[in-house]
């Protein structure tokens, strides 16, 4: 059937045509319909859940019955701020997230540069596939692979702990850093690099004044992944972290073993606030369009 004939058969009933014509004339109605379901889901249900969790952070639990006591209190945040343990854990988590981000950046940038600027188009296609494939392999599988490598009788044999956690997290999130930087470098015209060279700049100067400023949004986009994913992680810590704890573990333990949802909610606000500050700070760089 030709497209024309199909269109002819599509004329259909009057009601349908009426609705179609109405929608065609009213852009605002079309827009509202398109936005309705996504906004109900993410705006109302998801943001609502986050808000409800936040409210819970100001409640407490009855120590005897374990029930929620729905009375406003600052106690959780007070404990959070004054408890040395929590400050240490929060700082350690930020430190781990920052370390992972820096390690990934240092490994990813040369790789992405070699992929984007030195490889032939055909090789580029394959390299992208090579970097993407491990992204699809299960998170747990990769953390597990490092558990095997790091175990005291494994190939690396470092044992478990904070170093093991940083190494494993860096490994897990490396492709998330490579891909945005690669995309950023690919968009960077070679002519700019040539022009810089023709004007007398050496490699290092070209990097500092041309490559880095133009790929910075892509680097930030990558860092959002590496930073955020590390900040909330508790599974990897359980698998290779030994005795060391991060924010995620404190949240998890307060829900599970301690059955203290209000305190868990209060602790959970820490990574959220850090990420919101981070996102707000990088919005101007245009990094969010590079995700």
């Amino acid at each position: 059937m030709t497209a024309e004939a199909a269109v002819g058969n599509e004329r259909g009933t009057g009601l349908r045509r009426g609705v179609a014509a109405y929608l065609h004339r009213h852009a605002l109605v079309r827009l509202s319909l398109l936005l309705s379901a996504p906004l109900l889901w993410l705006g109302l249900a998801y943001l609502g859940s986050l808000a409800a969790l936040f409210v819970t952070a100001f409640w407490s639990t009855d120590t005897f019955t374990g029930d929620l006591v729905k009375v406003f209190t600052w106690a959780n945040f007070h404990d959070l701020v004054t408890g040395d343990v929590y400050r240490t854990v929060a700082l350690r988590s930020v430190g781990v997230a920052a370390a992972v981000t820096v390690i990934d950046l240092v490994i990813a940038f040369p790789m992405a540069f070699a992929m984007a600027k030195l490889a032939s188009p055909r090789a580029q296609r394959w390299l992208v596939i090579l970097v993407l494939t491990p992204l699809w392999a299960s998170y747990l599988v990769k953390a597990y692979a490092w558990r095997v490598l790091l175990s005291s009788d494994g190939i690396l044999g470092w044992g478990y702990g904070l170093t093991a956690t940083i190494a494993t997290l860096s490994y897990l999130w490396l492709p998330y850093m490579i891909l945005p930087i690669y995309a950023g470098l690919e968009r960077l015209p070679n002519a700019l690099l040539d022009a810089s060279g023709d004007l007398g700049a050496r490699g290092r100067r070209t990097f500092r004044t041309v490559v880095w400023p133009l790929t910075f949004p892509a680097v930030v986009a990558g860092s959002i992944f590496t930073f955020s994913l590390s900040l909330g992680d508790y599974i990897t810590v359980k698998i290779v972290g030994g005795k060391s704890q991060l924010i995620g573990n404190v949240v998890y333990d307060n829900i599970g073993a301690a059955n203290n949802l209000p305190f868990a909610a209060a602790v959970a606000t820490v990574p959220v606030v850090i990420m919101l500050v981070y996102l707000a700070a990088v919005r101007r760089t245009g990094a969010l369009e590079n995700l």
Binding site: L34, A37, L53, Y139, L140, G154, I255, A264
Partner: protein
């Protein structure tokens, strides 16, 4: 470009070394699935198919796999609808709060999974009173899967423009007909790529799943995690891990063929 020969060489070495770092641990998992030694002694004293056999016959693995597939399909279906709607709204219209909508869609993956997990579980538990089960897992997964479909459809819409749809309208097709015959066929491969990524994201997820699945629902990642610390299950866990690595090559190959462009998420 005026890169010196040593610099080029160095960059190439960095690329190869980086890829080596990415692949060696995965290769070790695959090798260990044939390791005759229960505790993965290195080098392997011998090779065996025994662990693959016991994994294949394990009912725990089979049930978990089926649960994961169901959750993935449910979440992907919802993500396809919501992501497409949002992408059309953002790309085709100008409205107040447009940037906020994009931010809202990225938020569930930008925030730590544990926050999304306990926020949703709290809502199901205390606010709505819904029992945790397969449905709550699907809702949780769909929330963070929307972004993959959204990104793919958005990129496609940016590229194809409005020309063909306007031509269709000029030729007398109404809104629905244009969508069916013009818009949807142009979107198809983007939807498939986005859907594949959404499925993979859901299939692999453990944190949100931990908090939104009741006692009865055990996805494959949950099963792996539960058995990770049991020494006598180690060989079977390792086989499942190896199988997942091998299987993960299929969707990436498909997505590459479908999209032609790089679909990063």
């Amino acid at each position: 470009m005026n890169l010196s020969r040593p610099a080029r060489l160095l960059l190439r070495v960095a690329l190869v070394a980086g890829l080596g770092v990415i692949y060696v641990p995965l290769a070790v998992v695959i090798l260990n699935s044939f390791n005759a030694d229960r505790t993965f002694g290195w080098p392997p004293p011998g090779l065996t198919f025994q662990w693959w056999r016991s994994a294949w016959n394990s009912s725990g693995v089979r049930d978990a796999l089926w649960t994961s597939v169901q959750a993935g399909l449910g979440a992907t279906a919802i993500a396809l609808v919501l992501g497409t709607m949002a992408a059309f709204a953002v790309q085709r219209y100008r409205f107040f709060g447009k940037n906020t909508v994009s931010l809202l869609i990225v938020l569930p993956i930008a925030l730590p999974g544990i926050v999304t997990g306990i926020a949703l579980s709290n809502t199901f538990h205390t606010v709505l009173g819904v029992p945790l089960g397969m449905l709550t897992v699907i809702v949780g997964h769909a929330t963070f899967c929307v972004v993959t479909v959204y990104n793919n459809v958005l990129a496609r819409l940016r590229r194809v423009g409005l020309g063909l749809e306007e031509a269709s309208a000029d030729l007398g097709a109404d809104t629905f007909t244009t969508f069916r015959l013009v818009t949807f066929p142009m979107m198809r491969s983007a939807l498939l790529a986005g859907g594949l990524l959404a499925f993979a994201l859901s299939f692999d997820e453990i944190i949100v799943t931990t908090f939104t699945s009741g006692a009865g629902v055990r996805t494959l990642p949950i099963w792996i995690f539960e058995n990770l610390f049991r020494p006598n299950q180690a060989p079977v866990v390792n086989v499942v891990a190896a199988a997942l690595i091998v299987v993960s090559i299929v969707p990436i190959w498909l997505a590459q063929r479908l999209s032609g462009e790089t679909a990063t998420r």
